[in-house]
């Protein structure tokens, strides 16, 4: 489903300028959008507002035709928007499989067998089904990332957000990220990737937004925008 952000405003208490100053962006269903920008441009704030971790002060977020306004409470997107953290934040006390089944079981009350069957499918799609019984500490960075993606997808979100997906990975693994994003896009999930990694943004995304001072300063196809920015 598509996501449309209109005039999003977010002020941090005590800060002179708003972190988000009327930001607008729209990403069509199943597309991959990269969000670029210098630090302080509002990338992290955007992610935290979109994922429901922080409330926002103005504007709307529209996900698949459902509109959320300012003051919407944490988590009120009802699992429609997932987030893959920069440091993945896998649950270290749970196996890979349990990481992926916790939310479906606790939030949706799914039976263990059903949740596990779905989680195994997702892990297989991402090529890490053999790690189902492992604990996160036994995984490489790339494997952790794919578990984090599978964990988010297990809640069947319409939109999946990524915070710097390449920063914790070996350079050799970076091209894997693009492939993973494409695979996920194939299932119809809309993806927004916050990154400073220009090659990945260029190769993997359909759209690029450049943020500056809490607004979208430029957007378009990667070849247009990144050439401009460079």
């Amino acid at each position: 489903m598509s996501i449309c952000v209109t005039d999003l405003v977010k002020r941090h208490p005590g800060a002179a300028a708003p972190a988000l100053a009327g930001l607008c962006m729209k990403v069509p269903t199943g597309k991959i959008a990269s969000v670029l920008g210098r630090s302080g441009a509002g990338k992290t704030t955007l992610l935290r507002c979109l994922s429901g971790l922080d409330p926002f002060d103005g504007g709307t977020i529209d996900v698949g035709g459902v509109t959320f306004g300012a003051g919407a409470k944490h988590g009120s997107f009802g699992g429609k928007i997932g987030l893959v953290f920069q440091s993945f934040e896998l649950f270290p006390h749970l196996t890979v499989l349990d990481n992926c089944t916790l939310a479906p079981r606790v939030v949706r009350g799914e039976a263990r067998a059903r949740a596990e069957a779905r989680a195994k499918e997702l892990l297989a799609e991402l090529g890490i089904e053999d790690k189902a019984k492992a604990y996160p500490e036994a995984l490489s960075g790339g494997q952790k990332q794919r578990v984090a993606i599978a964990r988010a997808l297990a809640m069947e979100p319409s939109v999946l957000l990524y915070d710097e997906p390449t920063s914790a990975l070996d350079p050799a693994l970076k091209h894997e990220v693009g492939r993973t994003l494409r695979r996920v896009a194939g299932t119809g999930v809309t993806q927004i990737v916050v990154t400073h990694d220009l090659p990945v943004a260029r190769e993997a995304s359909d759209l690029v937004f450049v943020l500056d001072k809490g607004r979208v300063a430029a957007f378009g196809r990667p070849d247009e925008v990144i050439a401009e920015a460079a």
């Binding site: 971790l53 988590g75 009802g78 953290f85 934040e89 916790l102 500490e137 952790k144 988010a152």
Partner: protein, 529 residues
């Protein structure tokens, strides 16, 4: 959600109230409202037994464990209480309590009467009523044999170190004479031990104690002459006229029919002032001081360690095991209270709204910053003023539990603090509620960090549980101090009790290590960046 918050708030408030309220009640009520009088003797008759309070740690010849068979309580007051109960038409059942708190325990309703060398003195009558005396003891001064500078008169006590029992006439007398008075909560044995090794210069105590502890020590000498007289009376609940009359009547009969005279003679305690007091027949000349002889034979000369191990200690093991079981059960239950309440406090402090945080901090500081003994005393002796009379067992569990909850709360707070904020964020972006995030994500990780200090606390609690002896429970430490006093053996029995404590704590230390290892293999921080 609101209900739950309210419940947590109440849970936190309750112990605070309990701590604050009794103090106020004490101040307001002590002068105005006298406690409603009991009829203890009627209660005893309905029950078929007379619960008489005593402290077996006080030792011979009053109430003590038979050194040859410590499973039996013996003493001239055991015989006296049995005769008294018989006259009242019931069985006698001894109930253990700390000696200097016996009258308070009586006032609280834990006993029907107190029979344990309670001296007739005005200050005692404030807490309880006293029967007519049943024995008169002379006060004797004991010094080290061959100590040329030893104080041998009351006047010579000025500035000297004198050992005696707390709250006794001897203590008041010696204080008045300007002596430096040292009182002992432990056994009477300790008082004479300290004299022998020179920690004190003299001991002033009642005749019976002197006879059983001072006179049998070849290194000590009892100074000739009496240094005053002290009468023993039965403590009965204040204002309980029926019981007072019944006890007085029974003592009269026991004096007249010669029961008391024969009893005292058997213990080697018959003396002239008592003869005058009782006014009855003298003991028959056929009665010998067999009980005193038995005591001398049992403890007069200390046995070598190994023969004590083989002949004396086996009979103590059952008592130690019973004491250990009580210590363990109280500790486990108190820990359950501490863990549950501690968890609620930690969650309130870390995740609760501001007022709840303040309450939690207040609770933690209050309970961590005041002595456990004060809290236990307030719960056991203070709450009855508010109409809440807890059994010794429940009071012990609650006081220990409330106190340790503060320590546990801090452990869990540290544990929760060690869980990165990103973990809660991750749980919430997956749609988990705050409570579900805590339960499934933060707590399981926090527990691993909190487990080692919690085990530590449990072992500390196991040892602190010895404090429940002040509320009449004979746990492991009390078992030891009583036996040590009755058998005049502190070192050897000390090793035995140490083994019992280790036997209790080591399995838990081991269990915790193995749980830690099991969790440790699973719970490690994900390598970030």
């Amino acid at each position: 959600m609101l209900k739950r918050r309210l419940a947590v708030t109440l849970l936190l408030l309750l112990p605070l109230l309990a701590l604050v309220a009794p103090g106020r009640a004490l101040a307001e009520e002590s002068e105005t409202a006298p406690a409603p009088a009991r009829n203890a003797v009627a209660e005893a008759r309905a029950r078929g037994e007379l619960r008489w309070g005593n402290d077996s740690q006080g030792g011979a010849p009053y109430v003590f464990q038979d050194p040859m068979d410590p499973n039996h309580l013996i003493g001239f007051e055991v015989d006296f209480a049995a005769a008294l109960a018989k006259k009242l038409g019931v069985r006698a059942r001894p109930v253990q309590g700390q000696w200097d708190g016996l009258l308070e325990l009586l006032a609280r309703g834990d006993f029907d009467v107190v029979v344990n060398g309670i001296e007739v003195a005005e200050e005692k009558k404030r807490v309880a009523d006293l029967s007519r005396p049943y024995y008169v003891a002379a006060m004797r001064l004991t010094v080290r044999k061959g100590d040329a500078g030893a104080p041998r008169t009351l006047e010579a006590l000025r500035g000297r170190k004198l050992g005696t029992l707390p709250g006794s006439l001897a203590a008041r007398l010696a204080t008045r004479e300007g002596a430096e008075v040292k009182t002992y909560d432990g056994g009477q044995n300790d008082i004479y031990d300290d004299l022998r090794i020179g920690r004190t210069d003299a001991v002033l105590l009642d005749d019976p104690i002197t006879l059983y502890y001072g006179a049998i020590d070849p290194a000590l000498e009892v100074v000739d002459g009496s240094f005053g007289e002290v009468s023993y009376a039965v403590g009965v609940p204040k204002g309980d006229a029926e019981t007072l009359a019944a006890v007085n009547g029974a003592i009269d009969e026991l004096a007249k029919d010669g029961t008391l005279a024969a009893l005292y003679a058997r213990w080697g305690l018959w003396n002239e002032p008592t003869e005058k007091l009782l006014g009855g027949p003298k003991p028959p000349s056929t009665v010998v001081a067999e009980a005193h002889d038995a005591w001398r034979a049992a403890v007069g000369k200390p046995l070598p360690f190994w023969s004590r191990v083989t002949t004396r200690y086996p009979a103590t093991l059952g008592l130690f095991a019973r004491g250990a079981l009580l210590s363990l059960v109280v500790s486990v239950l108190a820990m359950a209270v501490a863990v549950t309440l501690g968890m609620a406090l930690a969650l309130a402090r870390v995740y609760g709204p501001k007022p709840l945080q303040w309450l939690a901090v207040g609770y933690i500081e209050l309970f961590r910053g005041t002595p456990l003994l004060v809290q236990l005393t307030m719960v056991y002796f203070g709450l009855p003023e508010l109409g809440v009379t807890l059994s010794p067992f429940v009071a012990g569990v609650i006081a220990l539990g409330l106190n340790y909850a503060a320590a546990e709360a801090e452990n869990y707070r540290a544990g929760l603090g060690s869980v990165p904020a990103g973990q809660m964020d991750a749980a919430r972006t997956l749609g988990l509620s705050k409570l579900a995030s805590l339960r499934h994500v933060a707590l399981p990780q926090a527990i691993r960090v909190a487990l080692p200090p919690t085990t530590n606390d449990f072992i500390a609690l196991l040892k602190d549980s010895s404090l429940i002896s002040v509320v009449t429970l004979t746990e492991l430490t009390k078992t030891y101090t009583s036996l040590a006093s009755a058998m005049r053996d502190h070192l050897g029995l000390g090793l035995v009790v140490a083994l019992f404590y280790l036997g209790l704590s080591l399995p838990f230390a081991r269990l915790s290590r193995s749980v830690e290892e099991r969790l440790g293999s699973k719970v490690r921080r994900p390598a970030s960046a």
